[in-house]
Symmetry: C2
Subunit: 438 residues, 2 copies
């Protein structure tokens, strides 16, 4: 297989992680799919989707002046000098609950008049202040002559107090949400407040997951000699869904080039395919061989540990292709570093990187010179000398550290510590940046 | 309404946040539902669920000694002295790919013999070391007499190298996952590796969301005078789902005690109900009035801002009841502080608090003395003087800060800054703990 060997030698140079990521993101963003495809979805269906365009407020918030407390709407001049010894007595001419108003009280408040008002109710015209109920006799026991209700006010708030003004939070036309925002409960609720019933979102990327390897066995089934449970299908399908994509197919196949070629020609249409296994240089690495034949998928070695062998490119129909190592820890690390950012970029997401925190190290470990190391780590109980807040501390999550090749240890990882290329060892008490997993 | 007033005066004392949370968690944990109800689910359906019991490995990982690199399995003694000038020449008696083995090579490796082996393939008996292919002539061009393949080894790795030992990552019986763990892709993949096909999980809590207020209008519909869009139903239903629960009903109802009573008697069975609106002391606060009649729901004021008025208790059928203020920022804050931890505790979740980070302040603001303040904040671009990593900085997310009453500004919040009770003002350049939202 001279071709395979030539390809290996060509790609023996390690590509810096940042350079490969930049190339992947540029390629994915250059492809207009699916970020260019916009769907209008009801607010109830918008959570988890990515906003396609900037969205402004089409309704002011609040839409009208309303009471911030339960009490009485008044003309401030009528109560300015009120005191417990000399309360101001006002005629109660209305009763305003949120969402409904006494029809008889629709007229503006006159001098010496008050309207009972509940939090959120529209402040009647003429009133400029709300007196909280605690500053009054509640107006319940003060029937005046002829059955007229009166309220006694014992002290005045500042003029204009306890009224939420129309547009105080949002005016019509105010920017609300930026294109590329991941929509969650708070964003959807904000859109409702701002007058929207639906939002424009990017079509969800459709992604297929293909795990190759004749050793891969359905989890829980009896293993043939040399067989292992297929954990990568579950891992990658789950990570793809967490990245806001729909999983189209989950395929497990042996190391058989004909099987892979047949699947490629018969598969469901999709926007991206995540392969795992078969991307390094072994004679049975069929993903490398079959996709390498196409000439549109590059096989490279990236300066990271684990996860160095990587494939990226496009199939003829425009589907993006990611090829990850079969080692589950390497696959999980490479997914975080390259695939997740690319899947988010395909959605036009503004932020494609996970949040990072700086954390203290409980133990040290070695890191390969010239490679960015991603070490699965767990947060340990926060130590907090001054009681003022958490100081994150981490330790390796897997028994074998970054060299660990199996997914058992990944189960306890809260994140990946990122050790720069130039660092050959991190020491207890030092600091490290941690890419935080959800 | 003397009863309502008496209740208000009884509860005028502010309860510390930690005390109220402790009471809520104790009550919810004391109720065995639904944490006591265990379901066995397939791994493919387990993501997002909470593990019900501790789970150990039932399969070693790896299940057998296997090659960590592509190369040749050898007896180390045969290659120990190999050099480029004097390579060791071995007879290739087998070809081992992952998941399949040459049946002819099932016999143990003898002296002077080697087996071609691919990453992940089972190491044949007799072999104690794998020589990476790069240290050999690949064995492809070295046909010996009678068609026998030979491989020349140019240098020996250390004895035992490049073999992953059976059980190196997990031994049978090793603890894998603890009860109360939220299952995600990495945990599910780990369970597959450890020999499981399914996992025991806690039944998802069934939760109904009820927004009360005659002013509440379907988002996007024309507002009647005094009407506002109902954003809280969307907010709370989304937060409930994010907390791992199934939403049973989403109900919007006017401030009408009879409507609420009817709903309570006719509702779908559920584990918890989250009410919003109607919990403070206004005459139209029907949730307070109707649930107060039951005598099993307490209405309290908690020492926090926003979100002071709170209700918590149980209905006769054991459904937990949470009553939150109608102000969306207050509802969101109170959900984070009380409801989400309670819903996670109902699932037996080990960790019921969101992750917190300490962040620097870009601007200062006032905080009410004696109340824990939850200020919606946004992260701003990290400033990083030494280039070594991110230092989180925050600013208030809403125009009105914590006093903001509407959900428009919530849309931009990345978290809630938590200002302790004793603090009356935070200043730019200071530090604050931030409860990080997803």
């Amino acid at each position: 297989m001279p071709t395979t060997r030539a390809r290996f030698h060509e790609s023996a140079t390690l590509i810096p992680v940042a350079q490969h990521l930049e190339a992947v993101l540029a390629a994915v963003r250059g492809s207009a799919r699916p970020a260019g495809v916009v769907e209008q979805v009801r607010l109830a269906d918008a959570a988890g989707r990515t906003l396609a365009t900037d969205v402004d407020a089409v309704l002011a918030s609040p839409p009208f002046d309303n009471a911030a407390m339960d009490g009485f709407a008044v003309r401030w001049a009528d109560v300015a000098s009120a005191s417990p010894a000399e309360p101001a007595t006002l005629t109660v001419v209305g009763d305003h609950a949120a969402g409904s108003a006494d029809p008889a009280s629709a007229r503006p408040l006159g001098a010496g008049e008050a309207a009972r008002i509940m939090t959120g109710a529209q402040v009647p015209a003429g009133a400029d202040t709300v007196v909280p109920v605690e500053r009054t006799d509640r107006g319940e026991d003060a029937d005046g002559p002829g059955g007229v209700h009166r309220v006694r006010v014992f002290s005045a708030p500042d003029r204009g107090r306890h009224i939420r003004r129309a547009g105080e939070d949002l005016r019509v036309g105010d920017p609300l949400l930026e294109a590329g925002t991941l929509l969650g409960p708070r964003q959807v609720a904000g859109a409702a407040t701002a007058g929207h019933a639906s939002l424009p979102v990017v079509r969800m990327p459709r992604v297929s997951v293909v795990a190759t390897g004749s050793e891969l066995t359905e989890p829980g089934e009896t293993l043939a000699p040399g067989g292992i449970p297929d954990s990568n299908s579950l891992l990658l399908a789950g990570l793809v869904r967490e990245a806001g994509c729909a999983v189209v197919e989950i395929v497990r196949m042996p190391d058989d080039a004909d099987v892979l070629r047949a699947w490629i020609s018969e598969r469901e249409p999709c926007d991206a395919i995540v392969f795992t296994g078969g991307v390094s240089i072994g004679a049975y690495d069929v993903v490398r061989r079959v996709l390498g034949e196409l000439g549109t998928v590059d096989f490279v070695r990236v300066a990271m540990q684990p996860g160095s062998p990587q494939a990226f490119g496009f199939l003829a129909d425009g589907s993006a292709v990611f090829g990850l190592p079969g080692n589950p820890v390497a696959a999980a690390a490479a997914f975080e570093v390259f695939v997740r950012p690319a899947l988010l970029a395909m959605q036009g997401r503004r932020e494609v990187q996970r949040r990072r925190v700086r954390a203290g190290l409980v133990t040290g470990w070695d890191s390969p010179r010239g490679r960015l190391q991603l070490m699965p780590v767990s947060f340990v109980a926060a130590q907090d000398a001054d009681g003022a807040g958490p100081e994150p501390l981490v330790r390796p999550a897997t028994r074998g550290g970054a060299a660990s090749h199996l997914s058992g240890g990944l189960a306890g990882a809260d994140g990946f510590a990122i050790v720069p290329e130039a660092v050959e060892r991190v020491e207890p008490g030092g600091l490290v940046d941690v890419l935080v997993l959800p």
